[in-house]
Symmetry: C3
Subunit: 311 residues, 3 copies
């Protein structure tokens, strides 16, 4: 692997999932592979799971890790040809090349503006690092994607499924804040790669990018979508068409134990209890959310290992 910015950077997904599951059994089997290698983790946004799991994954491989909250330093310029006489202090051209000299792999987290749709879809921050850095880039959640979460979800589903081709539902759920589309997009990208029967459900107006969803059915009736589901993946996102806005917070879309029945419940976390899903769901036996978070370590570790192997 030369970089990991999207799930499609993984050539053989089921093979990678199996390797991650093997790693999970003994995370310290390759502590030599990262010797004298440095991971620089750059955060343009806050992080808990991604920060701790990716750092742990790198250290499990014997890497050195530097964590930098970029916003503690200064604003970066991403526009080509900009006259930098305002509030940006360093151009990504220099920043990416310079950091590449201190790092063997650079991991980047940079959320969308949720205001400038075209800028967000262009993945300006992530793609600028890909363009100008001279070392591999790992996406720790970008404007429109979150492939480390998707890989962790793939591991979780693979470990848990009891039928060859499970029914998986991605359901919008209410939330008081306008949230990115990245986790939903990443999960849909993943569904393209897995042997599943996949349905998306959300209120009208919450359609995601049609380029991403076009091969999958959209069912506006949540309860109908949930029928015979094996896995229900809940996530809030703001409107894509009315970009970045909250159209409604309809509490009827909250995930309840009654609704999910025997289906497994998935969410990337953090989750707002009794808004996105009720306590009974999260405290119930069918919730996979803690294991999903656990698998973040092994998703990150197999990705870093594959990249290190090809340095």
């Amino acid at each position: 692997m030369k970089k990991y910015t999207a799930i499609n950077d993984i050539e053989n997904l089921s093979d990678t999932i199996q390797k991650a599951i093997q790693l999970k059994k003994n995370p310290y089997q390759c502590t030599h592979i990262g010797q004298h290698k440095t991971l620089v983790m750059l955060f343009f946004n806050a992080s808990l799971r991604t920060r701790l799991s990716t750092e742990k994954a790198a250290k499990n491989l014997g890497m050195q890790v530097s964590v930098l909250n970029v916003t503690n330093a200064w604003n970066m310029e991403f526009e080509d040809g900009a006259v930098m006489n305002l509030n940006t202090s360093e151009h990504i051209k220099e920043a990416a090349k310079v950091i590449s000299q201190y790092a063997d792999i650079i991991a980047v987290r940079a959320f969308p503006t949720l205001e400038d749709k075209e800028k967000d879809r262009a993945e300006t921050v992530l793609n600028s690092f890909v363009k100008y850095a001279t070392v591999p880039i790992v996406n720790m959640e970008s404007a429109t994607d979150h492939p480390l979460q998707a890989l962790a979800d793939a591991i979780t589903i693979t470990e848990t499924k009891t039928v060859a081709k499970p029914k998986v539902v991605l359901s919008w759920a209410p939330h008081p804040k306008a949230l990115p589309h990245s986790v939903a997009n990443a999960f849909i990208h993943l569904m393209h790669r897995m042997e599943v029967d996949f349905v998306i459900t959300h209120p009208k107006g919450y359609e995601l990018d049609p380029e991403i969803t076009k091969q999958f059915p959209i069912e506006y009736d949540q309860q109908k979508a949930f029928e015979n589901a094996d896995f229900i993946y809940a996530k809030n996102w703001s409107s894509f068409n009315d970009y970045g806005n909250i159209l409604n917070e309809d509490p009827n879309w909250m995930i309840t134990q009654e609704k999910i029945g025997a289906a497994k419940f998935m969410h990337c976390l953090p989750i707002r209890r009794n808004v996105v899903a009720e306590d009974a769901v999260l405290d119930g036996d069918n919730a996979l959310v803690i294991e999903q978070a656990n698998n973040r370590t092994f998703a990150a570790q197999i990705v870093l290992q594959e990249i290190l192997t090809h340095l």
Copy 2:
């Protein structure tokens, strides 16, 4: 040891103190014990000594360390059953379980509100971690206690005392800001466990939690309390009865060289010079404050070592 949230988690205190003193002579005698073990340090509040000494202690044992300023991420919810539609993004139930998967030990710093007395006394943050985490918790100063400081103080007194049962005085001292009771409480808890003649002195109105102080004499005349003292431990705290408020900043309670005479002077630091204690005290030969801070490393190291031994 299964956790370290209070000095009473130590079964045999004098034995632990002796082990810490042995560690101090050669801090690298157990660099294998922490191999492939991770300490996650979570800060809800600022830290200098605790951060650096605990991180160093963990690394001396060969542990990996991740430091996370929680307030850089998002607000956590601690109330059971909360409908999280306001400003909290993640419930402690998920956070504690998730972090437990990335950590072998979790260390937490979370100061009191100094506004909500019952919430502070309930130790909501610390106890929620104890309740929901699946790995041992270390208290890096909580709403009402600071047992790593107390253990460092125990080491310092043990190394310094010249009589079997020294007279120790805990004295309130002035300060311009409303401060927590945690260090004072921790020191009093320690005094219960040591062979000492212990007196507390403070202006009227600054009585600490009577549940904690009840077995010890309170002397409102500072100079009388200081008579024949071997150790004088100074600390400011805000009122417990008139909760979290400053009743006076009476400069007559400042510790002076004349007042302490031949007694050793202790303080947990940071200390406001010429407010809590005058320069002559801190620059004098009887000040133990720098050695107390040094012993923080070995207090943390013996605690982590004991916990690692019982994982």
Copy 3:
């Protein structure tokens, strides 16, 4: 080396440069020298290059590294005898002694106020650490100096020069913010130690501290200064005489490709494109800025190595 607060702490500069160039070929030749040694990096100001390169250098030597943003903790007091009843919580006397117990080397970054000229020239923060710490201090950019940058620049010039005694020009360049004098000063201190023909050029009113520049010619005509230059080092600084103020942002002083011709272009970064230097300069073959940043690692590493050798 007992500390590294100025380039003159290096006794034999050309020897040190050659050692750094050797280190660059194999950065992992001395991973034992830092074993069980801790570098504490204290930041009073933001950092990207210095943070990552110095951390990497220390880890290349096998050191443990703790990074602390001091401003996340509390304000420190530097005045002797201060009555600390205002907004400072810890005196440097305690802080420096305490941190010295957790560190084998302390590295400090503390920018100038650009308001109080005498305080800045006194290097209050850096010199207080030198005075009160009991371990060696490394300057990661202080109020008036930046010797790690200067050493990286020395390595870069040595690697690049094609004549025994190159002509080197330090040129002021425009910038929208008032900037420190530290990089310019550090470069001038370096020029004293290298075999170069050195000229300083800037608009009238931007004279630097005459104590530092006195042995070198100042040429107010930029183009004249650039004639036959081998290296052009660009940097903005605010006025020294009209202390900390911006007198003009004359865009005619921006560095252009036409102006520099065949000369190599140097800058410490971060650089504002099309304000300090035009894109064509930074994207051209004569720009050394990325390599200067790369050499920051080896400058830091040889400094730490020399200090560790003499502990």
